[in-house]
Symmetry: C2
Subunit: 373 residues, 2 copies
């Protein structure tokens, strides 16, 4: 997408420094648009853990570039494959819930294993990482094309009046390599001249809605309003929401959706108010093995400091971190919840729109289901 | 309740300054425990609007003391009643959703109207304000007694293991004149030695959970954990919540519950996970006229600055207000939502526990229903 007139992806290989992977440091947004260079697999792991790169698709791509960096820094002797395997294991452990990461790391690992000489293995790792990034961007683009008719239909139904779309967290272009998942149809609709407005859940504790989604939508000139995570239910009760679209960090092939903590609450409210609840999921975000999201998907617990502290701008415009859970009260910080398939109206995929059940999902992705992705 | 070994109510008449009403300035909590004196009805209105006093019961009592101050500052001539009526109207407008305010102001107004001379009117306003405050504290105490068996039963069912109670916003003693509504049974259970733990929703945008409820529970030595408003759904899915108890700013006599924005989302999650959802409501918080909460209850919209800015402690321990919705993205700030009766397991009242339907509520309060409160 464009930032200040220039096209960016969220991660790319810098031609001038082929040993460095460039990222938009998302931990600096919206305060600063900062490009960071990652030189080692260890740095990439830290970058994923600290959420300088985040979002299901992007951490998949980051994991695959991390594997490339691991292949470049591995000793060119019998220590090569052990180093690569160890790096793969560390990368996969860096964030447990989003399945793209595991999937992408395994894919580059297989490419390395299949290649011959050490140099060929290095070259194969780069090629596969680039493929994964390109495919991720392309999947984002296709989710936009496939989700667009849902918004068009709502717009026609409202005789062209504003279509109000609620989203949670950030599933925009910052969450993938490009285009986004949940926001990709919104970008496509806006481009086509459809009148859209987005309710942006701030998404505590890390405020990816207020910090990233609002920033993205502002840059794209798309009307939006930031709301607390508490407000969406009332807006639905008041018929001020026409549809919900969210992304997913992992969706079982039976339709259970793991996504940012709080998503489940919005799905319940949408269901209670007969409002369509769509999830944008693409090939690499499906879990082809787990069939019970609540039982099978590991839910990441993150540092309580994310709840306890928040960063904003003080009155002089200086970035300041403040404690908002004063005293010594304990805090808890689960990062995801699971929206059961029964609450999902439909899944917008890179291949088309399908129902959130095993039959529909497997029919859409027979090749993936048979090979576990 | 006790603060640092001394008993406090949230509002009281200062004997040394009978023309001043004292309040705990809740806009300063948890950073500072500060007592503020209110000298005029205008100051009381400001105090209610700015939420220096807040919580359904407390703003009722504050409104009644505001009427006393109005009676004391009114001209002792034929301008007296017009001044009092104008003050009553302003007080009632200061916050629209909580019904206690309107109810209390009207009650003092009637007492003033019934009294003879101006001096008698002034004396009657004071007496009625004191009565309302005393009754509010007493209702809080009784909700504790009446709600206790629900927690005891859960404790017995768990064979004495910790009962995990989720609450939203602050419905503790700070929200009433004393004891609280939702937290009163929790205090009673803790006092009786029952093992309880409270999940405290931080309650954006004003964080009354993290700022007030956590402060109250800390002072009382009750185990608790602060969570984001997004987390409760997952905790219920994981069976880490045994019951939800919330307060209410207005409950229709048909059982629809207006309470702090986000309450509805927790009620939906409790319902979906078969977890009891209790609301603590007392005589003066019922709406005896409205029968459809969603259609009839006015939902207050507050300044967007409450969403846009938050105050915390910086690294030097200094209170600092920071902007957390950077850029020029618009914000929205509805203060309440409505939980439909179908999602409410039972209502804990000052007279006993009843179902959330017209028949049960009216049977519990036949005298109130017939007289519209």
């Amino acid at each position: 997408m464009e930032v200040n007139g220039k096209h960016y992806r969220t991660i790319w290989l810098d031609k001038e420094h082929p040993l460095a992977v460039s990222i938009i440091d998302q931990s600096r947004l919206p305060f600063e648009f900062s490009i960071k260079k990652i030189f080692t697999c260890g740095e990439m792991i830290r970058s994923i853990k600290e959420m300088e790169v985040r979002g299901a698709g992007l951490i998949g791509a980051a994991g695959s570039y991390g594997m490339y960096l691991a292949a470049m820094e591995a000793p060119l002797n019998r220590g090569f494959m052990p180093y690569v395997h160890k790096s793969a294991a560390k990368l996969k452990r860096s964030r447990p819930t989003a399945i793209n990461l595991e999937w992408a790391v395994n894919r580059v690992l297989r490419a390395i294993e299949s290649a011959g000489s050490y140099t060929e293995k290095q070259r194969a790792s780069l090629q596969e990482a680039q493929n994964i990034a390109d495919e991720d961007a392309e999947a984002g683009r296709k989710m936009g094309i496939n989700g667009l008719p849902l918004i068009e239909k709502a717009s026609n139904h409202k005789k062209g009046k504003t279509v109000n779309i609620l989203t949670h967290c950030n599933a925009g272009w910052l969450a993938l390599v490009d285009y986004g998942s949940a926001l990709s149809p919104v970008y496509a609709a806006h481009k086509k001249g459809i009148d859209v407005h987005v309710w942006v859940d701030e998404t505590r504790p890390r405020n990816q809605g207020a910090f990233l989604t609002a920033w993205e939508l502002s840059k794209a000139g798309i009307p939006h309003t930031v709301i607390t995570d508490n407000e969406g239910g009332l807006l639905m009760q008041k018929k001020m929401v026409d549809m919900v679209i969210v992304g997913s960090d992992r969706t079982t092939h039976t339709g259970d959706v793991a996504n940012k903590i709080g998503t489940y609450l919005k799905a319940l409210a949408a269901y209670d108010n007969n409002i369509p609840f769509y999830v944008a999921v693409y090939s690499s975000s499906f879990d082809w093995i787990s069939s019970d999201g609540l039982k099978n998907i590991p839910i990441e617990q993150r540092s309580g400091d994310e709840v306890r502290f928040i960063t904003g701008l003080d009155k002089t415009g200086k970035e300041t971190r403040v404690s908002i859970v004063p005293g010594d009260s304990p805090v808890s910080n689960y990062a995801f919840d699971v929206t059961p398939a029964k609450l999902v109206t439909a899944i917008i995929t890179d291949r088309g729109v399908c129902k959130a059940d095993k039959k529909s999902i497997v029919s859409m992705f027979p090749d993936k289901f048979n090979t576990n992705g």
